[in-house]
């Protein structure tokens, strides 16, 4: 009985907070837009039979035919991939440095990584606007130092979006990699050197493969939320930045076309299921390897 309760709690959670809302969204995506409250038909008011009869895949067909959506999905994928890669490039050395730091320093370093979470995410993104804008801190600094004479245009470009995503999701990359590196037995590197590797070779042949699971976990933890990211592209990105999160927002709130917006969300979820399943498999494999 107790075991049943233990299993039932997470399943009930998933059912109420994920599956039911998803079904509602899915149902809306099969409906038609209408000038009404709520802004779509059919409703439960029309009776269950009529409701089921009027559902169709029109919105999905529309999304498939309009290349704005395809471009938005592809652009989101590209931005998410590039920023995940950049986060990895920035995060790995930090995690490596933390794992190699003296033991008494590690808790402090760990806290510094988590510290930004103490401030609201929105405020931190706004702060980046202040740093990156034409009259912002970065340009003032660079001009003051004489590195550049004309201010750089970073804000409202894709570069600003990459910076924002790398900054925001960095802890999600660092923590799993750090966890993998910290467990790494130093004598493995010594053994590699003893057998004829240079330090660099030992790093590529031993350290990287053995932190692979941490790298994969970190990349998924960044890639999955970055793909549907809305706040960062809308605040830091320009009109040229096309991301599916932004399209979703516009469909819902500017066009008030809930059915199309829901269809966009359903497709986004289907796209995300692939990396999520891969991520789960990676975690499971890691758990098995540790036994």
């Amino acid at each position: 009985m107790r075991r049943f309760t233990l299993i039932a709690v997470p399943y009930a959670w998933l059912l109420v907070l994920f599956l039911v809302p998803f079904l509602i969204v899915f149902k809306i995506s099969l409906s038609d837009a209408a000038v009404a409250i709520p802004p779509y038909t059919p409703n439960l008011k029309d009776g269950l039979g009529a409701l089921l009869a009027e559902l169709d895949f029109e919105n999905f067909a529309f999304i498939a035919s309009d290349d704005l959506y395809w471009k938005a999905y592809l652009s989101s994928l590209r931005i998410a991939l590039i920023s995940t890669f950049c986060t990895l490039l920035v995060g790995y050395p930090i995690a490596y440095g933390m794992a190699k730091a003296p033991e008494e320093w590690r808790p402090t370093l760990m806290m510094l990584v988590i510290l930004p979470f103490w401030t609201s995410f929105l405020i931190r993104v706004y702060a980046w606007m202040g740093i990156l804008s034409t009259e912002g801190l970065l340009n003032q600094l660079l001009i003051g130092m004489g590195v550049i004479s004309e201010p750089l245009k970073i804000l409202n470009t894709n570069t600003a979006v990459y910076i924002g995503i790398v900054y925001t999701y960095l802890p999600f990359m660092i923590l799993p990699i750090y966890a993998a590196l910290e467990r790494l037995d130093e004598s493995l590197n010594e053994a590699a050197e003893d057998l004829g590797c240079s330090r660099t070779q030992a790093f590529w042949l031993v350290t990287i493969p053995l932190s692979k699971n941490g790298i994969i976990a970190g990349c998924f933890l960044v890639f999955i939320p970055a793909l549907g990211e809305f706040v960062i592209p809308s605040l830091l990105g320009g009109s040229g930045t096309l991301m599916i999160g932004k399209v979703l927002w516009e469909e819902f709130f500017n066009n008030r076309d809930w059915p199309v917006a829901s269809a966009v969300a359903v497709i986004l979820l289907l796209i995300l299921i692939i990396p999520i399943v891969l991520f789960q498999r990676n975690q499971q494999k890691q758990a098995e390897a540790e036994q």
């Binding site: 010594e190 003893d194 057998l195």
Partner: protein, 378 residues
């Protein structure tokens, strides 16, 4: 050292023989801590050399200096006549078997053994041939495709050995190689190690804190304490002729009797060891002056225990059995003398235990000859 004939492997007695490894006044400090203190030592090719000592005595530091993971603070270290202080670990003809084995968990047994060979840019066929040879030597053929976590501790130990031998190093370092194995497996593996050492002709330097292991496998043993070598000798010489109370006490069981020496004829001394007791007669090549402090180290198995007073024994004392440690093949009797001192005497249990004629609280005689013990000045 004693009565070594020409056929016995003893390059250390041959002054013309060039040592493979030479430590010359090597000192290693970690900050203020002196790990190795002005150490000079020669190790010869094809030796099975054991560094023995309690933890923190500097034996692991010595091994790590040989492997290249630590550099001496001062002094020179030579391998085959070449100063190796500035040679990085990956450029030394030295391989190490790590205490934790340090097998690469993401590689199969085959790939683990091939790891060092691949770094040498050998051809694929050469690598495959050498790996197969190593697998055969360590009887691991069946496990070639497994990962390290899929085999037993004893097998892992053999993989580590095969991997470190694969590059045919001039010198193989073994850091507590059998520490993780249970006793029975450890004993079997000790003989396996000796066989492999003989087959390959590689020079082995083993670090251990287990004196029995050092005695079993090594051609010579260096007993270390606090960064210094106290004695270097063959296992038999270390056991029979320790040069200090520390070595005598570290290797096996021993009775130490503190006394004052009084010369009594050529190479013989009377030892006053307790007020009112007859002096002990002991032979010693090491000279002692009248009234000098001396320590008689005598192994329990060199002491005879009897119920009647022995005839013609140089030294005999009466005591009472306080304790008996029954070890199966042997029994150690703790005999208390009238003055309170406890002397351990050991006998082989050649008779069944039911027929043992000495038991607790029995009055007994213990006796030994003048040459049974070693007289030490420190």
């Amino acid at each position: 050292m004693h009565n070594v004939s020409q056929t016995v492997f003893a390059p250390w007695d041959d002054p013309d023989k060039e040592p493979l490894i030479q430590f010359q006044n090597v000192t290693k400090k970690f900050g203020e801590f002196v790990a190795i203190d002005d150490l000079t030592l020669d190790i010869y090719a094809q030796e099975f050399f054991a560094l023995l000592g309690p933890s923190g005595c500097g034996k692991t530091t010595m091994m790590r200096m040989l492997a290249g993971f630590e550099n001496p603070t001062s002094g020179t270290m030579k391998l085959a006549g070449q100063d190796i202080a500035d040679v990085p670990p990956n450029k030394r003809a030295v391989n190490m078997m790590f205490q934790s084995y340090a097998l690469f968990p993401h590689l199969s047994i085959w790939e683990n053994i091939a790891f060092g060979l691949k770094r040498d840019k050998q051809s694929k066929d050469q690598i495959a041939a050498r790996v197969d040879e190593m697998l055969k030597l360590t009887r691991l053929e069946k496990f070639a495709q497994r990962k390290p976590h899929q085999i037993s501790g004893g097998q892992r130990q053999r993989v580590a050995l095969a991997r470190s031998l694969a590059k045919a190093p001039k010198l193989l370092l073994l850091d507590e190689p059998l520490g993780a194995l249970d006793k029975k497996l450890r004993q079997d593996t000790q003989f396996e190690l000796m066989d492999i050492q003989e087959t390959t002709g590689t020079t082995f330097v083993i670090v251990t804190h287990d004196q029995e292991e050092a005695m079993t496998v090594a051609s010579r043993v260096a007993v270390m304490d606090e960064g210094r070598i106290i004695q270097v000798s063959t296992p038999a010489a270390i056991y029979e002729y320790p040069n200090s109370v520390y070595v005598a006490d570290f290797i096996g069981e021993v009775n130490i009797i503190d006394a004052t020496a009084k010369p009594a004829g050529k190479d013989e001394y009377h030892l006053d060891w307790a007020a009112g007791e007859a002096p002990i007669l002991a032979a010693s090549e090491r000279p002692f002056s009248e009234g000098q402090k001396a320590h008689l180290a005598i192994r329990p198995e060199k002491i005879t225990i009897t119920t009647d007073k022995p005839k013609d024994a140089s030294n005999a004392m009466q005591g009472k059995v306080l304790d008996i440690a029954y070890l199966g093949n042997l029994s150690t009797y703790h005999v208390q003398l009238p003055g309170g001192q406890i002397i351990k005497a050991q006998t082989a249990n050649t008779r069944r235990i039911a027929r043992r004629d000495i038991t607790w609280e029995d009055p007994v005689w213990i006796s030994w000859s003048a040459t049974a013990g070693v007289l030490l000045d420190q």
